[in-house]
Amino acid sequence: MNIIIVGCGKVGKTLAEQLNEAGNNITVIDQDPDKLSAVTDRCDVMGIVGNGVTRAVLEEAGIADANLLIAVTGSDERNLLCCLLAKKAGQRCETIARVRSPQYSEDAPYLRRELGLAMVINPEYAAALEIARVLRFPSAIKIDTFVKGRIELLKFKLPEDSPLAGMAVRDIAPKLHCDVLVCTVERDDEAFIASGDFTFRGRDVISIIAEPKSAYTFFRKINYKASPVHSALIAGGGEIGHYLSIMLLRAGIDVTLIEKDEVRAEMLSEEMPDATVIHADATDQDILMQESIDKAGAFVALTNIDEENILLSLFARSVSRAKLVTKINRIDFDNVIGRLDLDTVIYPKNITAEIIVRYVRAMKNTIGSNVETLYQLIKGKVEAAEFLVREGSPVIGRPLAELDFREGVLVAAIVRGRKVIRPRGSDVIQDGDSVVIVSNHLGLHDITDVLR
């Protein structure tokens, strides 16, 4: 597919990298040549210096043959205008705009419909949504859902003394009597797709696929707290903090929000009378102790400075047993951060990019079956994809054991109507099933791609 990305900031760069790897032809437009060359030197994309909201530049970027334009400049208005222009200049160009201001975001569905956009994405809202989901189930580092929430994909870290340590994957069902499927295990810098005789160790990071109910029993059995948090302490009242507070309050969770800027704090307090808004610097330990960080169910670090967020979370870890969520915006040291004891780390740019990549993958649908949902289980290594199987697909009608799967492919679940099937060798995929596949082959487009 021919894709034009306007704006080469954090999200633009991540998108260019990921969409390029998925085999699309990418052209990136930005006014800053230095920012552009940072991308064009690293991946195989074309860069054009110029204002993406002018027709001449869009034409130079090949808008006439483009299938998709993604506007992720710093300004909402420019993003929207750019999409409008692209819509007129390109014959069959879909458009995605990033709109982050809350005022416009309220109008998002209206804007999308009236301006004919394919998607309006708000990174802060998306990030807040993901945090809220994790707080609902604090034992998990990350939660994704498949088949309209019927199946959940949960990632969590084993403590040193976990009852699972030393247990083999195939012993889970007989010993714990619960129906979960282990997909991947990350140990140090390695990632494994779990086979039956794989034995767990403390500090492993594990992904499981299960129905929400089974996941709940599973976590209870391995001594995790499985109930949602009751109170949350949020450091930083930016847009994510604002959206998150609203979501948490709506779910009946107590929210304490610390914001440095007085005007902003007053505004937040007016908008959310139920929240406790504190006007203070969150890096002040006294303030944190005063707001009883040691007793909070969750601590969410959302200030604008990544390093500050990491430090705040590490401090919280030392004084309390709260569930930690840390936002990282800019810095790119995944492997170092991964080794810190930080529970959940949220990268807003990755969340936005992931949503858009998922949309692009869905745009490429082929007949027979297609990708409905897609998650990066382990960044750049393992993906989980949901396919809808339609009539005529070669996977239909034969027991799984007889199908010739490629190596590193795991059929994680089959959903038929309301029923969720834990696949075994004798199960047969039928027309209309949703199938969840976990695989280390990235960029699957069709369920037949998993066959040899």
């Binding site: 991946c43 195989d44 074309m46």
Partner: protein, 477 residues
């Protein structure tokens, strides 16, 4: 340095060169020449060795700028060494340094020869000599990129290091598609010339070799008379294609997309104006040497096209022309072709940018606080590009002076040495006096030949890769 990946790419290169050696092997089969066995054996050996080397897959496939430069320069040296082997083994050119000179001259599309006569050589050797022009014209690494999916975006560094011109732009987002498109344009134009030459008096062998040599802007001929022995029709066809192959290939891509305005960029216009002006001047200057005005124009156009495009074919011994014409021709050798073509020289684009930045300097001297950027075709030229060109020009003359000094040890006259370096550093071929169209480079000492070999490689790869390969800075840990 990513040594494993470097070796891996060199392994691929050996396989590709092995495959390309099949062309002269086929020629030998057609003309029933026993020396064809050398090509078959060498091709088999290279392919086999290449397969063994590429069996070991490097874990890290990322290449950085430094790796790009090293890979490109090593590839060209290695390719030339293997390319020289058939000449040595067959005994056509017994001395290795001479054979290497001939091979480098072929791949770098220079066309400077150490042979005084070529007709006694087997046809397969002549075919290989000319075919190396075609391979070297567009660049062999670009060819590898076009057919093989090399890892990630980092192979842009390879393309940057191998393509002629100050700034390399892609035609389409992907390097691989860009490389493929360039080769398609290159191939179709070569084919067109081949067919047009075939329509004249040439046989298939001559038409093919001459087309290859024109396409790469090389200049090896297959008869002792050079191009002078062919009809006026053939000479005109060759003239037109020499001028066409020295045009930036991006223009052809834009013409195919009906973007005529963008296709005739400032560089192309400047190039065409220079060609037209010099043809006119030289025609007038040499009018008295020929029977008719038409003949004078034909030879002037051929020689101007040949030298400016850095091909180096000759119909007439321009060494005997008046001084004004000779001076103009030598100056044309410096200017060279357009960036992004198969031609050599300093390139029209560099002169345009230098001229504009020089004018800006004048303005700044008069208005010290004036803010002014260099622009070409409405696009701003980054200060880094201007800086790079300034360093390039200095480096160019540094190499030039050192080469001249070494050559002067051999005791030839100043014109011979001066034009000998011009003709090799700019990948042209013939110079004046002893290295003129009727002379050759055999008379130089092995030391001088080595220097000229370096000059040819440096000139083809735009100086930096070859210099960086031998610079301690590159190898510092």
């Amino acid at each position: 340095m990513n040594y494993r990946m470097t070796v891996h790419v060199l392994g691929i290169l050996m396989i590709v060169e092995g495959a390309l050696l099949c062309v002269p092997a086929l020629t030998a089969a057609v003309y029933r020449e026993p020396s064809g066995m050398i090509f078959v054996a060498l091709a088999a050996a290279l392919v086999l060795a290449g397969f063994v080397i590429t069996r070991f897959k490097p874990q890290k496939r990322t290449l950085f700028a430094r790796d790009g430069f090293v890979i490109v320069s090593l590839s060209w040296i290695l390719m030339s060494v293997f390319g020289a082997l058939p000449f040595v083994i067959s005994g056509c050119i017994p001395s290795f340094i001479d054979a290497l000179f001939e091979s480098v001259s072929g791949f770098t599309t220079t066309g400077a020869s150490i042979l005084s006569e070529v007709e006694s050589l087997p046809k397969c050797m002549l075919m290989w000599r000319s075919f190396t022009h075609w391979i070297g014209g567009m660049g062999v690494l670009v060819f590898i990129m076009a057919i093989l999916p090399l890892s990630g975006g980092t192979n842009m560094y390879l393309m940057k290091a191998e393509s002629p011109g100050p700034s390399v732009s892609k035609l389409v987002p992907r390097v691989r598609t860009t490389a493929l498109l360039l080769y398609v344009i290159y191939f179709v134009m070569t084919l067109a010339e081949f067919l047009l030459l075939l329509a004249g008096e040439m046989d298939a062998f001559e038409a093919f070799t001459i087309a290859c040599a024109t396409a790469g802007t090389g200049g090896f001929a297959v008869t002792n008379a050079g191009i002078g022995g062919y009809s006026a029709y053939s000479q005109i066809v060759i003239t037109v294609f020499m001028i066409l192959f020295a045009v930036n290939f991006t223009s052809y891509f834009l013409i195919l997309h009906k973007k005529f305005k963008e296709a005739f960029s400032t560089e192309i216009r400047a190039y065409l104006i220079i060609v037209a002006l010099t043809i006119t001047t030289v025609s007038v200057d040499i009018r008295h040497l020929f029977g008719s005005a038409g003949e004078a124009v034909r030879h002037a156009a051929f020689t101007v096209g040949s030298l400016m495009s850095s091909t180096g074919f000759a119909t007439e011994d321009f060494n005997l022309w008046p001084t004004l014409s000779k001076t103009i021709l030598v100056l044309l050798m410096f200017v060279g072709a357009c960036a992004g073509s198969t031609g050599g020289g300093i390139k029209v684009q560099r002169f345009l940018i230098l001229g504009k930045s020089m004018r800006n300097e004048f303005r700044v001297m008069l208005h010290p606080k004036q803010v002014r950027k260099v622009k070409l075709d409405g696009h701003q030229i980054e200060p880094e590009v201007v800086r790079n060109i300034n360093a390039y020009i200095f480096l160019y003359f540094l190499i030039y002076v050192v080469s001249m000094l070494v050559l002067s040890l051999d005791g030839f006259d100043l014109t011979t040495n001066f034009t000998g370096v011009v003709a090799t550093l700019n990948n042209i071929g013939p110079g004046l006096n002893a290295v003129g169209p009727t002379g050759n480079y055999a008379l130089f000492s092995p030391l001088s030949k080595s220097v000229l070999i370096f000059d040819m490689l440096a000139g083809r790869l735009e100086l930096y890769p070859m210099i960086l390969l031998f610079s301690p800075l590159t190898w510092k840990k």
